[in-house]
Structures are given as structure tokens and as C-alpha cells.
């Protein structure tokens, strides 16, 4: 265990980065939605799955992966828009459990709907030819597509940061999550901001789905496990904290990857051990504020 070659360790850290990237995209959407709306969105995993299925649908329609990569998150985001307006909005002001139960039910409905439309057999989503194959990084062969996923995640994160920090809408979003009452008193239509944030969060889940499809396969249950892990990431990072989602996502990705290397059997449980330790030391997560859930 101690004579780990340096190249193998580097390879392991690199694979952890991709794992973390997918976690980050999912967790940031969850965190954004929770931070502003205090909605625990259990349908997030199913929307991730829908991103992959919409991607498959668009790829069949257009034959172009890049168009599908743009279109699938937009479609999922639009669905998110409808979900917020028609299902979540009426529950506004009720206890935090109500939207939680609603989105949990919705996730089951979406999985069943996908089984009815696309069948119980999963699908294959091929990456574009340009991203086929592996590159020699010196310490290992690494799939080009995975490098691309790391790149997309980085670009999306920078874009999101600029949007939240440098635009007026971003300002409203940040203000809305701090003190919704005051923002409303200043004449801002918070309903529209909720719509936008829910669409943005779900769109990011859709993006994670279409990005993960070519790596992991596309099937109706693909969001079931990852939603649990994403919630762990959100909790470790601190509910509602975007920086927390990024740091915790990458941290969990690396922890899983490194544990897999030294003790594969522990890799799954390790995620929860990290969560338990973080919660013991910092009950509201690495970057969370206390009292959001009360």
C-alpha cells in the first residue's frame, strides 16, 4: 500500500477530477435551488437522467452532438420552468417537507415515463468522433472525452460565477437568498427569480446528464444513486453554498478515487464517512450558514 508509484497516484487524482466535475454540476444546481427557495429537489437525479435521454433524442434528430449538448440542458431547463411554476409554486409558504415529497414523487413519475417512452432497455450515447480515443498523459492513457468534461465543467463554473457576481439578475439572486423579504420590499419580482433559478439549476442537471451519458451509459435509473451522492456533496459543502458545492464536489470525487485505489471496498462508504466527519466538526457544512433549515 505504501509503495504506490507516483504515476499511478497522478492517474488516480486525474480520474477523481472527472468524478468530481459531475458531482459539482449536480450539486451546484441543487445548492442554487435550495439556497434561494429552500426546496430540496429530489427530482434532480431524474432531471440528470432526462438530460441524457433528451441528448439522445436530439442526436437522433440532428445528428450533431454539439447541438444536442446545447439543446438537452435547455429542454431540461424548460421542463424545470414548468415544474417550478405549476408544481412547486403552489406549495410556497408550506413546510420544507411538502416540495421534498412532491419532487420525490416527480422523480418516480419521470423514471416511469422514460421507461414507457424509450423502453426498459438503456441506450447508447456516442461521443463525437473528434473526442474519440485516448491521449497519453505520460503517466496514463486518458480518454479525450473525459478531458473535455473537465473543460466544460470549468467553463460552466466560470460563466456561472460571472453571472452571479457581475450581473443585476445575479445580484437579485444573491440578495434573494440572503433576505427574500427585503428584496421583495424593494419591488423585485421574486417569482421570476425563482423561475429562473429553478430552470438554471435543472438545466445544469441536464448538462451533467448528457455529459455523463457517453461515459456511463444511458438508462432510466442512472440518476438514482448519483442523487444521493450529490446530496452528500451539498451537505458537506454547506446547504445553499455554491463555493461549498464546488469544493465538496471535487473533494468527494478525489476521496472516492483515492479510496478506490487503496481499498476498493471502502470507496462507497467513504463518501458518508467524510460527511459524518465534516458534520461533526462543522454542523452546517464546510461553507454553510447555520439555521437555513429551520
Amino acid at each position: 500500500m505504501l509503495d504506490i508509484p507516483l504515476s499511478a497516484l497522478a492517474a488516480q487524482l486525474f480520474t477523481g477530477l472527472v468524478l468530481g466535475g459531475i458531482y459539482v454540476l449536480l450539486a451546484i444546481g441543487l445548492s442554487l435551488i435550495f439556497g434561494l427557495m429552500t426546496v430540496v429537489n429530489f427530482a434532480h437525479g431524474s432531471l440528470y437522467m432526462l438530460g441524457a435521454y433528451f441528448g439522445f433524442f436530439l442526436l437522433g434528430l440532428t445528428g450533431n452532438f454539439w447541438l444536442s449538448l446545447l439543446g438537452a440542458p435547455l429542454m431540461v431547463g424548460t421542463l424545470g420552468l414548468l415544474v417550478e411554476r405549476c408544481l412547486i409554486r403552489p406549495l410556497r409558504g408550506r413546510s420544507i417537507d411538502d416540495p421534498l415529497l412532491l419532487t420525490f414523487g416527480l422523480s418516480l413519475v419521470l423514471i416511469e415515463a422514460v421507461r414507457i417512452i424509450w423502453g426498459k432497455i438503456g441506450l447508447t450515447l456516442d461521443p463525437p468522433r473528434a473526442l474519440d480515443g485516448a491521449v497519453d498523459l505520460g503517466f496514463m492513457f486518458f480518454p479525450l472525452y473525459r478531458l473535455f468534461v473537465i473543460g466544460v465543467t470549468a467553463v460552466v463554473l466560470v460563466g456561472l460565477w460571472l453571472f452571479l457576481e457581475r450581473t443585476n439578475v445575479g445580484l437579485f439572486i444573491r440578495a434573494g437568498s440572503r433576505d427574500p423579504l427585503m428584496v421583495r420590499a424593494l419591488g423585485v419580482n421574486l417569482g421570476r427569480i425563482w423561475l429562473l433559478v429553478f430552470a438554471l439549476g435543472t438545466g445544469l442537471a441536464g448538462l451533467a446528464g448528457i455529459l455523463a451519458g457517453p461515459m456511463r451509459g444511458v438508462y432510466a435509473e442512472m440518476g438514482v444513486t448519483i442523487i444521493i451522492e450529490s446530496f452528500v456533496v451539498v451537505v458537506v459543502g454547506g446547504m445553499g453554498s455554491l463555493l461549498g458545492a464546488v469544493v465538496a464536489g471535487l473533494l468527494i470525487g478525489e476521496v472516492v478515487s483515492l479510496t478506490t485505489f487503496v481499498a476498493p471496498k471502502l470507496s462507497e462508504i467513504m463518501v458518508f464517512i467524510v460527511m459524518a466527519v465534516v458534520l461533526l466538526v462543522r454542523p452546517s457544512g464546510l461553507f454553510g450558514e447555520a439555521g437555513l433549515l429551520e
Partner: protein, 405 residues
Amino acid sequence: MDRRTFLKATTVTAATVAAPALGRGQETGPIKIGFPLPLTGPFGALAQDQQRGATLAMEELNAKGGVLGRRVEVIFRDDQLKPAVGAQRTKELIENEKVHCVVGGLAAHVQMAINEQTKKSNILFISVSQSDEISARPDTSPVTFHEALNPTITTRAVGGWALKNVARKWWVVYADYAWGKQNAAVFTDVCQKAGGTILGSTPYPLGSAEFSAHLPRIQAARPEGMFTVTPGADNIAFLKQFTNFGMKKQMVVVQPLHWLPTMKEGGPEIYDGIHAATNFYWELAESIPQVKRYVEAHQKRFNMPPGDYGAYAYSGVMEVARGITLARSTHGPAIAEALRANPEYDHYKGKQWWRKCDNKSFQDIWIVRGRGPGQTRGEWGLLDVVTRIPANEELDRTCAEKGHV
């Protein structure tokens, strides 16, 4: 008509009308076969294949006038791939539907739960999916039969072949649950006996979608061959990542089984050149007349060829029918006795037989290899047949090893 004549006439009429109803029950109604299977869940596609196989068997039997002159009815129930649900559905089939026999199950742990129920009611159960325990003590029973292959037979067959023909230095990746562990253990044993080396192994939790973190370590060990026990959706995710990381060029991959619906899902690119065993493949129709008949009937009825697990289900239902015909009874122990006394049968691919001591079916196995892109034949022509491994009781553990006296 005087009073006496009227009474006589009405009594006779009433008796005539009521008699068939009184005699019905177990004797003249349909022969009911319960069939629990995981129609929902990750093995849904394989379960549908099973359902088609059992339906075809039922329709063929009824077209020939049924069994003992009675119609055959197969009643399917979704066990959701959960042992508790499987046990509950089986109980309902036995108590409410009054089934005479049970065929079915698609996972080792669920078929054990089904078996507990049929054992209690002394009803014949023909299990049609893989498990080592189902035909071993203490789980088995005199009314428990096992039609499918098991991990020991499968991996001794494919492992023995792979050690001789493919590679000597191996790495094993397996899902960390009963079926995965059994296959990994058998392969390790086969490898050691054949003078090969296991460089290392990777257990992972069943239902994983991400394997990339396991791959650098395997790459660094430089095995010549990789034995992977990754069922269902795991199989596709693993092979996809294995291929993407460029490892297919570095080592040969062998698996215990290929499942046709899973292969169709994953596509020929990832299954290209991957070896495995199978109990059945429809293109065997070119050389085996029984397969030809079965595949044509299936194709005609469902517009697609049968898969491997569908074939087990077909054979299971046919064996129940044969047993009842031989025993002239639907009583579990009587059918079991009749099958043990007449062990040979041939429903779809050639001779099979029941071993008397453990009610285990022995049958031919084929080593197959995935076809690459551009080499597939239609939607389902995904495999090349490499060789046949003839049915052989020595591939399984002996009855003494399985706890039978």
C-alpha cells in the same frame, strides 16, 4: 307430472348441472404455472425475454391440446428484483391463484426467496436463473429443480477455455454480491489449477456506473487477461470506460456470460472481441435443428429471436408440462419423482438431463465472442460462436460437495 316425478326430474337435472362444478377444482380446470420475474428494475429487458419464452411454451402446449387435456395458464407476477417481494408474490400465486407449479426468478437472491415458499407448500419449482445454492443443501429440496447454468459450471467452462486459449496472467473485476463473488472464486480456483496467475482483483458495489477510479491500478499491473463479472447495466458502464481508457488494446476480456439484450443496449463497439459463455444463441439454428424450430417459432410469434434467459423460461415451462404428463398428477412430489425417473429431455437445443441427486440440469454450453461494428447481422446478430463445451456433470460440484448424501 305428479309430485314424485317432478322431484325425480329436478334432482336429476340439478345433479347434472352441478356435477361438473363439483368435480372441477383441481381436476379439470387449467393447469396453472406461477412465474415471478423482475419486470421492473435493472433486469427488466431480460425479464421480458423470459416472459416471451414462457408465453411461447404455453401457447405451443395449448395448441397441442394442453396437458392431460387441460389448458395451460402461465401467471406472471413482477418481483421487482427484491427477495421480499418475490416471496410475497409467490405466496399469493400459491394461495390465491392456486398455481400447481412455479417456474421463474432472475436473480440468485430472489429465487432463494421463491424457493422458500414453494418448499413450504411442497410445490414443484423450476428455477431458471443462475445460483450455486439453489441445488445445494440446505437450500434445495426434493421439489426444487434448477434449469439454468450456475456460476460453478459457467466459470469452470469459460475459465478453463480462457486459460488454455487466451491468457495466463489475469485480473478479476467482480460485483461484490453472491453471484459476483461465486464467479470470482471459481475463476481463481480454475486459474490456480491450470497454472495461471491472478495478479489482483477488484470487488465493487453492484449497481456502479463509474469504474474509472479502478482502472489505473489495473493498467499498472499489466495483466494479459481481464475476467469481469459485471451484470446488467454495470457491464455496459464498465466496458465503455475500459474501452475509452484504451485498455482493450492492452488485454483480452473474458466474462462468465453474454446477455443478448444487454449487448444490444451497449452496442458492438464495446463488445467487440469480448468472450463469454452462453446457454443459448439463436444463430446456432444454422447447425442444430431443434434450435432452428425454436427460433423460427419465436421469430414468428414475437418478430425477434429468443435470448438466453428466454430459452431457460421456455424450457422450464415445457419441463413442468412433461413432468405433469408423466406423473398424471399436479402433485409436486409426484412430478419431481417422474422427472427424476425420466431425466432426459430436449426442448430447444439438444439433449439435457436432470442429475438425480440434486435435480440439476446438465446441458451444452457455447463460448461466444462479440462481433465488432460492421460485422453484426441485423439487430440481434451480435455474436460469433467460438466453440461448444458439451454437457458434463464434472463441470459442477459433486453431489457430496453440495451436501447431498
